[in-house]
């Protein structure tokens, strides 16, 4: 598999000192499918100046939002041999803020993270605080974002390692996010297994139980935790090269389509991301081929 290593991956995620031109963004980052962090990308957003937990309470405290609730902070992760989705609760945003500010308790770990364009769908009061898209990215990609998502959660809330078919522009407004990334070319070293899908259910006494979905269709997911990889079980992962970066308030991470990512955050971090559908072009063919080869080689 030495040939796979020809895709050069930098030792760290590079920084840009400001937004790139649309052409430079496409040529230097999107087309070669490489991540970068753009500083001073959100300088003119009112959200960068205004957003804080008290501001969110004032602006939208009474608004009900979808909240993912898990016993340990891991939504969409492998637990007990199943692929377990979070319990989903509808709570006033103010209730989530109470928990984040230590004024109230709630069982488990809370994460406002519903990826259905929840900023537009659930928190319209916040829309005036930021542009509806990232103009240089929209011009570069020749399209508007498919979704604009709002993220707010506790320090323990984690997004488990996975990848998406989206060009992802991840903007931190307050606090910081910590990303652990793997390029798509690490696919042969990242294990997938099939798991029966299940969902956490929050009982009335505040305990969690795992309830199997009715479907018999199993879900391919990554059982490995990159923060504590079980190398005895997944020795191939030792050949993967994780790229770590911290994205701070005012910065924008360009997270290229099909890159694996695992995400942690500071307590109460507030972020917004823009998802643009990827082009199913050469890079897609390339990574599909890698995927097929990995399976054909019986690596997983």
């Amino acid at each position: 598999m030495a040939m796979l290593l020809e895709l050069s991956v930098p030792p760290a995620v590079p920084y840009l000192d400001g937004p790139p031109t649309p052409l430079a963004f496409y040529r230097d980052w999107v087309c070669p499918n490489r991540p970068c962090i753009v500083r001073r990308a959100l300088g003119h957003w009112p959200a960068l100046r205004k957003w804080s937990l008290p501001y969110l309470r004032a602006a939208a405290g009474a608004t009900e939002v979808s909240v993912a609730v898990t016993p340990d902070g891991y939504a969409d992760a492998v637990r007990g041999g199943r692929f377990v989705l979070p319990a989903e609760r509808r709570l006033p945003l103010g209730r989530v803020l109470d928990v984040l500010e230590g004024r109230a308790a709630h069982p488990g770990v809370l994460y406002v993270q519903k990826q259905c364009s929840n900023l537009r769908a659930e928190l319209p009061a916040l829309l005036p605080d930021l542009p509806p898209h990232v103009p240089w990215a929209s011009e570069a990609l020749g399209k508007m974002p498919d979704a604009v998502n709002f993220w707010l959660g506790e320090a323990a809330a984690v997004t488990s390692l996975h990848r998406d078919h989206y060009e992802n522009l991840y903007c931190v407004l307050s606090g910081e996010k910590r990303f652990l990334l793997h390029p798509p070319s690490d696919r042969p070293f990242i294990p997938y297994e099939l798991f029966a899908p299940a969902t956490y259910q929050l009982t009335e006494d505040g305990a969690f139980k795992i309830v199997d979905e009715e479907t018999t269709e199993k879900v391919p997911w990554i059982p490995l935790d990159p923060l504590a990889p079980d190398l005895a079980r997944y020795p191939g992962y030792s050949q993967a090269r994780a790229l770590r970066c911290t994205v701070r308030a005012g910065e924008l991470l360009y997270l290229p389509s099909l890159w694996f990512h695992h995400v942690q955050q500071s307590h109460g971090c507030i972020a917004v991301n823009f998802w643009y559908d990827m082009e199913y072009d050469l890079k897609y063919s390339y990574f599909q081929l890698l995927d097929s080869l990995t399976k054909a080689a019986g690596l997983n």
Copy 2:
């Protein structure tokens, strides 16, 4: 190998009605590595109005140029079990024009085609007739061309099937070029074999002999003629899909890096091409992987 077919290849080379913007050129053609023909791309070049065989004689008839001479029109092709380079002659351009216009005879087939930026190096008198580069392409690619080549030859002069590590902007000024193209994803179906290198030598009596090079290093080359493929010998080629196109005066073919191409022309066709070094990015990794797999599979 069905998975290779995921790279969608159009049934014909698409036309653009005018030069694209640099961003559109990069996003829609360079990044996905797809060819297109641009109409009205050379409208403002004096060369398009002026260049003809009599004009070339008037402007540079006395200038010596490098001319590839072969017995059958095939330069850089497999003949007699060898990879045979053309005889190279230095002739006044007027002498080549005499042959093209039927006023004089010369053994073999002549082709002014030296790809060493021969327009700049050998025919500086023609430089004022065209821009030094293609601005929208240079801006898109973020660099200037590595070479600007001038092409003039007889109807029998053929460029055998091969590929280059260049983004190629091929501009026809007079007459027409006929391209037969294969996408890089056809690599598994296109045979390569190793051949001892040799060169044609033109004897005093006008005959050609093949003279082996002193090196013992063999050259990988494509023994197949796509105009008359020997499918009994190379059955895999029946799975390849040739794209054919004719590029007429005033049109520019964007021939993407790593695409296989075989080229014919009308008698006395005059053309110029710009070679921009390719980016060794994802597409390079992808096609290198295809190359490695093809070899590993023993396909050739």
